[in-house]
Amino acid sequence: MKLGRREFLASAGATALTASLAGRSAWAQAKEVEVGLLMPLSGLYARFGASARQGAEMAVDKINKEGGIKALGGAKMKLVVLDCGDTAEKAKSAAQRMVAEYPNMVAVSGSYLSTFTLATSEVTERAHLPMLTLSYSDLITDRGFKYIFQTSATAGSQATQALPTVVKIAKSAGGNPKKVAIITDNTAASVASVKPMREHLLKDVGLELVVDETFTPPLADATPLVQKVRSARPDLLFFLPTVISDAKLVLEKMNEFGMGQGRVPTMAFGIAMFEPDMLKSMSPDLLQGMIGSIGSWGSKGHEAIAAELKAKYNEPWVDQNVISTYADYIVIKEALEKAGKADREAVATALHTMDGGPSKYYPGGEIKFDDKGRRVNAGLTIIQWQSGVPVTIYPDNLAVAKPIWSKK
């Protein structure tokens, strides 16, 4: 098609007029809406970032296949993936680069580790860019920020929820834990988790601490630790290793002493003990029966996602990072529908005022954020290794399997 000079000028004038009248967002609406994923894709935490990326890609695919953002005339979501590296400084730089290079981005999900999220949200807050995070630290939403939204229950909330929940699960499965043991290494995260348990959490639910052992990684021989546990015969063991080889030593020794495979119910902390990589160094038998408490997990109702994850990425199960990040983009989509324009301020307002009803992907609570940006009534998931797969056993409405609990 050839345009004459007159027609060309006319159309150019018309375009200019439309643009100047409708502003920038009009342009954006006709094209794509940029959403970010700022996760560790290199370094120590790359595995977790990779899972989050899978969740994000699947969610954005689904949204676009189903017609994009309807309130924006079917605009497609465009996922921008950025690596926040493995340190707080790299995360800050990456966030700065993101806000500088993608001025039209309307929301972002990130950045796995609380430390990274604290750093990146300092930047997104100043850029007025809404950020959704699965990180637990209470500090993230204690700073009075207006553009941060915490979808998991905070660490403080999880600590108080987890123990009563585990006792409840035990009772429902016919157990009745009274005496408990702790085996922990002395790394910062483990020490921080154990401290409130020792101080009051155990007492609050009527549990008696009979063995309390701390070791320095790497562990050379787990025999003395495991012998202490055996002679005290606790009803529940809290196990907080950081190094996988230490975990393996203790679990092998417990198995040898006839306490493995859930005969002494064992609860581990942290997502690392429930990653597919665990099966590379440990047999499923060793892990059998181990319980974990986590912010979210693939559960009942997520079967389609699990199937797609398996087909597309060959991942055996849906972990926290996949499902929680997946959910983030569904929430962002809802916020865009509510806002009616591809504008970060409008999306932030929509997130603050949204009332999306019961949560479908995050455990418990609603799709609604309080003043601090915390998801209202966010719950947690209890998972258990059963036949080589960590399955959700709590809450009941999400559980895909019954808990296994040794009745002795």
Partner: protein, 585 residues
């Protein structure tokens, strides 16, 4: 001169400021700030490690203390960083003084390793205190009063001011007695001590200053990052960052850290930004390889490499011309007979002993030295000459005995105090400050008796003239011949106006003619009233130089006599050549 050196820096800073003001992309603004933060950190590290040569792997300890001090001060006391940053400098300085006092008893790699331990230990302390993650409270009101700017360019401008201040401070240090002392320590701590420099005191000053500057930079960094974790301020990589930018750019010069940071920081960022998402971790590989290649090609850093290249192109002719050494005229032939005996004893050694385990290196050595005379101490290898020397000049501590200098007991005093008392020395293995000019080498020895830099320069010029090196005064020590180096060392010892000179194998490695020239210079010095004690392995040239000999064997005095008597003494020949030869002599 001041203006000439400061002006280019100010212009460079102004150019950087103009560029930073034109940058509107907030990410590039952050980069421009970070380049300066790491350049400043490199400069602060250089202020200590670059000049003293004591490699610190632990500067993160000062950085982190400054950072945490500023963060905690804001969180718990709501203080403004405008106040906290200067106080963080005091915190860093105090830490430097304390760490220096504890660690300076260690040397070279032992020191480096000990420094490595401080940040790693304190990192765990902050973990234990529960400060895994701190964030600076956001100020919606009074943002400027709390150094929280929405415009990233303000941080860049602040960083420019900070960097410029540190560069000017570094240059002031470099050009003063402070800097000369540090460079002397780097080139050779023993020589520096012998030249009258109180090395411990200067090193403490250097690490205190460096710690203070580092503390302030750490504090500023927190205001840029807004989040503090022990890893991000005390981590291994933080200390390494200072080393990397400085070693890459050039150690011991203010330009090194500036060049290093300007190249490495943006390169690392660009690699991470462009490749990080596609090939996670590849940026680390490329970055590491680039550093390896540059360090292989330019081991002392880019700055020195470029400077040496430029020197070679322009300075070739100048070197060739100034080779000649003029020997002072009016030298009379060596008198082989009369010792100048005016009876006055300047140095008296009584029953000096030193053992190393079971080995009696020096036992019951006694002798006197008359003012204005030349005493030669000779003996075969392993006779205990060098040990005796080290006892005399304070490098080793005697087990027993007395050393009287002008009747005052100086038994076991430290080298720099002996130097102040009028004892100068040279070394068997020459210890020139290789990168410095002859004049700069010598001036280090002059500070001991000079009130200011100008006076020290005058003393140095005088000393250089006395050994006949005036023509070579502006040459770099590494370009000198062995004989010239010997004379330069002599001048350095002379610059401190010693009454007594201890010379350790000054004639070693010289040809017959060269040795004769040096002997001429020494005799002239003796004539001017300087007492000389010289140890030598060989007797040959010494016979024409000294007034009296002390012959050592197995740590004890074998004979003490005039040269003529010594050469005929059977015991001496036996000690040198064995009994078989003494029969033929």
């Amino acid at each position: 001169m001041r203006l000439r050196t400061v002006l280019p820096l100010v212009m460079l800073a102004a150019a950087y400021a103009v560029i930073s003001l034109l940058v509107t992309n907030s990410y590039y603004q952050l980069m421009m700030t970070l380049v300066l933060v790491w350049a400043s950190f490199g400069l602060a590290w250089n202020l200590f490690s670059g000049y003293t040569g004591l490699i610190s792997f632990g500067h993160a300890v000062f950085f982190g203390l400054g950072a945490y001090f500023t963060a905690l001060g804001q969180i718990y006391f709501d203080l403004t960083p405008w106040l906290l940053i200067p106080v963080a400098a005091l915190v860093g300085g105090a830490a430097g003084l304390l760490i220096g006092a504890l660690t300076f008893r260690l040397r070279s790699h032992y020191f480096a390793l000990a420094m490595l331990a401080y940040p790693l230990a304190i990192l765990n302390v902050f973990m234990w205190l529960g400060y895994q993650e701190l964030t600076i409270p956001m100020k919606h009101k009074d943002a400027v009063a709390y150094m929280q700017f929405t415009d990233g360019r303000v941080y860049t401008l602040l960083a420019i001011v900070m960097t410029l201040a540190i560069v000017i401070l570094s240059q002031a240090v470099e050009r003063s007695r402070f800097g000369m002392a540090l460079i002397a320590i780097k080139q050779n701590e023993a020589a520096a001590e012998a030249a009258g420099i109180n090395t411990l005191a200067w090193k403490l000053r250097a690490i205190t200053l460096s710690g203070a500057v580092t503390g302030a930079i750490g504090a500023f960094y927190v205001m840029v990052l807004l989040v503090v974790t022990p890893e991000s301020v005390f981590g291994m990589l933080v200390s390494a960052q200072a080393l990397t930018v400085t070693m890459f750019g050039g150690v011991g010069t203010v330009w090194g850290p500036l060049i290093g940071a300007a190249i490495l920081i943006p390169t690392g960022q660009i690699l991470q930004a462009k490749l990080g998402a596609q090939f996670p971790g590849i940026e680390g590989v490329i970055y590491g390889l680039a550093i390896v290649i540059v360090i292989l090609a330019a081991p002392e850093g880019i700055f020195w490499r470029v400077r040496d290249k430029m020197r070679k192109r322009t300075g070739g002719t100048a070197l060739a011309e100034s080779g000649a050494v003029s020997i002072p005229a009016a030298i009379e032939p060596a008198s082989t007979s009369v010792p100048r005996n005016d009876g006055e004893i300047i140095l008296s050694v009584r029953n000096l002993s030193k053992s190393f385990g079971g080995l009696k290196a020096v036992q019951n050595v006694s002798f006197d030295v008359q003012r204005g005379s030349i005493l030669g101490i000779i003996g075969p290898n392993g006779a205990g000459k060098t040990t005796l020397f080290n006892l005399l000049n304070g490098f080793q501590h005697p087990d027993a005995g007395e050393v009287l200098l002008d009747g005052r007991n100086v038994f076991g005093e430290s080298p720099h105090r002996l130097c102040a008392a009028g004892v100068g020395r040279t070394f068997q293995v020459m210890r020139p400050f290789a990168r410095l000019s002859v004049a700069d080498n010598v001036v280090i020895g002059a500070y001991i008796r000079a009130a200011d830099d100008a006076e020290a320069r005058a003393h140095a010029a005088d000393a250089i003239a006395r050994v006949g090196l005036t023509g070579a005064a502006n040459r770099i020590a590494s370009e000198l011949t062995t004989k010239e180096l010997r004379l330069m060392e002599l001048a350095r010892a002379l610059a401190g106006a010693p009454r007594l000179l201890l010379l350790d194998e000054t004639l070693a490695g010289l040809g017959a003619n060269e040795a004769a020239e040096v002997v001429t210079v020494l005799r002239a010095l003796a004539k001017q009233g300087i007492t000389i004690v010289i140890i030598e392995h060989t007797m040959h040239t010494m016979v024409r130089l000294v007034d009296r000999f002390v012959v050592l064997d197995h740590g004890a005095v074998l004979v003490e006599d005039t040269p003529q008597a010594i050469t005929r003494d059977n015991r001496v020949i036996e000690a040198y050549l064995g009994t078989k030869w003494s029969a033929h002599a």
